[in-house]
């Protein structure tokens, strides 16, 4: 983005009357001009009410500490009515246990969490490494290609297929379903209604139901479908609830890591001093991985619904109000993070970011995500090649998934 575009966004963000600011506007995310708006809200109105938006009225929580407060108070702020700003209709399923409160949430989460236990991650490490190597060694050298398609999508979709024990040759369907599930129907793409979305997700349900039926009659295995099919807390799910959990797991395990893989390449290219520092000291990889996840914030927000009247910083949030926690803003809060707008791979406390959320809904796959990013960068550095960005990224049109449609790169010898 040009300096003048940044300046124009900043001017507008500070000129608008505060009650007219609407940070759910997806154009601001596609253009990456959302930042001065969040900055203004953090400074002038950190608990902000937007009375009118495409998604109806909603509260924005923009400071790190306040997000922490809402995220950890699941008694006052429920997930049962949905966890994104989009309004559910058209028969769309609830997105699985992430959109449940205790005790149902707790039981279902515990059913799938062993897949990302430290023991299982150790078992997966070699598989991931050999796939990363195969992908990296197949990339063209000296000619431009789309990093998102050839690396980010490929690596995360292969991982997802393994976790589900999903037919490997059909794995592209997982990416497709994940993208459709998170599509904002207001974004002007081919999926422009909840009905169209539901039609595609119906195909997803049909496919997964076949896998379920195979596995429910087989011995328990250690893939996600088998775990769901054999656990007392999930084996009697209705189709909609099953679909909801499938969507949760494919979006959670797919879009997020995918976009952090792409984001890392973009940030290192935007910050050549950091790229140099990394190449001189590969020990910084784990700390850089956390910084990539902070700086990317692959899910810009999570939403709750107030179930009792609650006061935060003098504002009264009424029962029934939609409350949006902007993780993307919390991760740029100067009160919580030093130089938050800079990408710095050797921060003192790199793990203290808000991208995974906090409290009982905290990302269950966070260590798997970190491991994939770590292994990818270990293998990139071993190969002594530079991944050079050769054009502007195209961003996803969404205020939920902060991601990339494409990132043109060219690999050259270091």
């Amino acid at each position: 983005m040009t300096t003048s575009a940044i300046a124009a966004a900043r001017k507008r963000a500070y000129e608008l009357p505060i009650d007219q600011i609407d940070v759910s506007d997806i154009e601001l995310f596609r253009d990456d001009t959302i930042w001065p708006y969040f900055e203004r809200l953090r400074k002038d109105d950190p608990i902000h009410y937007c009375a009118d938006s495409k998604y109806g009225p909603f509260w924005s929580i923009t400071r790190y500490k306040d997000i922490m407060e809402v995220d950890t108070n699941h008694r006052a702020f429920s997930s049962e009515d949905g966890i994104t700003i989009q309004i559910r209709s058209g028969g769309l399923p609830t997105p699985g246990f992430i959109a449940m409160d205790p005790p149902r949430h707790d039981e279902q989460r515990k059913t799938v969490s062993p897949i990302v236990s430290p023991g299982n991650l150790a078992n997966l490490e070699q598989t991931i490494r050999s796939r990363v190597c195969a992908i990296l060694d197949s990339l063209p050298v000296g000619e431009p290609f789309n990093w998102v398609e050839k690396v980010s999508i490929e690596l995360t979709t292969q991982m997802l297929a393994t976790l589900f024990d999903f037919p490997f040759e059909d794995r592209h369907l997982l990416t497709y379903w994940s993208d459709v599930a998170t599509t904002d129907v207001n974004a002007g793409g081919t999926i422009d209604s909840n009905e169209k979305k539901m039609a595609v997700l119906g195909e997803c349900l049909g496919y997964f139901t076949r896998l379920w039926n195979e596995r429910v009659n087989a011995e328990p295995g250690n893939d996600l479908i088998s775990m769901l099919a054999h656990s007392p807390s999930t084996r009697n799910m209705e189709p909609r609830e099953f679909l909801g959990n499938i969507i949760l797991l494919i979006v959670g395990g797919n879009d997020t890591t995918r976009n952090s893989i792409s984001g890392g390449v973009w940030f290192l290219n935007q910050n050549p001093d950091q790229y140099r520092k990394l190449r001189e000291n590969p020990q910084l990889i784990p700390s850089m991985v956390s910084e990539i996840i902070r700086y990317q914030t692959p899910l810009a927000h999570m939403r709750r619904t107030a179930v009792v009247d609650t006061e935060i910083r003098g504002k009264i949030i009424r029962k029934g109000d939609k409350v949006v926690m902007w993780y993307a803003s919390g991760n740029r809060d100067e009160e919580a993070i030093e130089n938050p707008d800079s990408f710095i791979i050797d921060r003192a406390r790199p793990r203290q970011h808000i991208s995974f959320g906090f409290g009982i809904h905290r990302c269950v796959g966070n260590r798997l995500a970190e491991m994939q990013l770590r292994i990818l960068w270990e293998e990139i550095l071993k190969r002594n090649r530079i991944i050079e960005v050769v054009g502007e990224p195209e961003r996803v049109m969404s205020n939920f998934v902060r991601g990339y449609v494409s990132l043109p790169v060219c690999i050259r010898a270091a």
Binding site: M68, D71, T72, P102, D106, R109, K110, S113, P114, V116, S117, P118, G119, L121, R349, R351, Q352, F356, F358, G359, I360, R362, V364, R367
Partner: protein, 106 residues
């Protein structure tokens, strides 16, 4: 200053002196004890400072709170002597405390 010992699963012991009032989680981070992540910075909100409290020490700690119990219920390998290190404040009564670290934080 009270001394505490963090024991890794591979048997490595880390004995450190911590000032009164600091949390067992912060103490580990300040002394670069591996195996304590402390992602939320001590807010009892992430479960990544999980430790196993050694034997008789368990009953000498302040009782476990609701939020801590809830986060621990999601921790891998949680046992009856599991605690979150961010919720344990160091004092002279805890001089000699021994905690074991889990395989990894999750």
């Amino acid at each position: 200053m009270p001394k505490v010992i963090y024991a890794e699963q591979n048997g490595t012991m880390h004995e450190v002196e911590l000032p009164d009032g600091v949390s067992l989680m912060q103490g580990a981070l300040d002394h670069s004890v591996p195996g304590i992540d402390g992602d939320c910075g001590g807010e009892c909100a992430c479960g990544t400072c999980h430790v196993y409290v050694d034997g008789s020490w368990l009953g000498r700690l302040e009782a476990i709170g609701e939020a801590e119990a809830s986060m621990l219920s999601f921790a891998d390998g949680a046992k009856p002597n599991s605690r979150l290190a961010c919720q344990i404040k160091i004092s002279s009564e805890l001089d000699g405390l021994v905690v074991a670290l889990p395989e990894a934080q999750h």
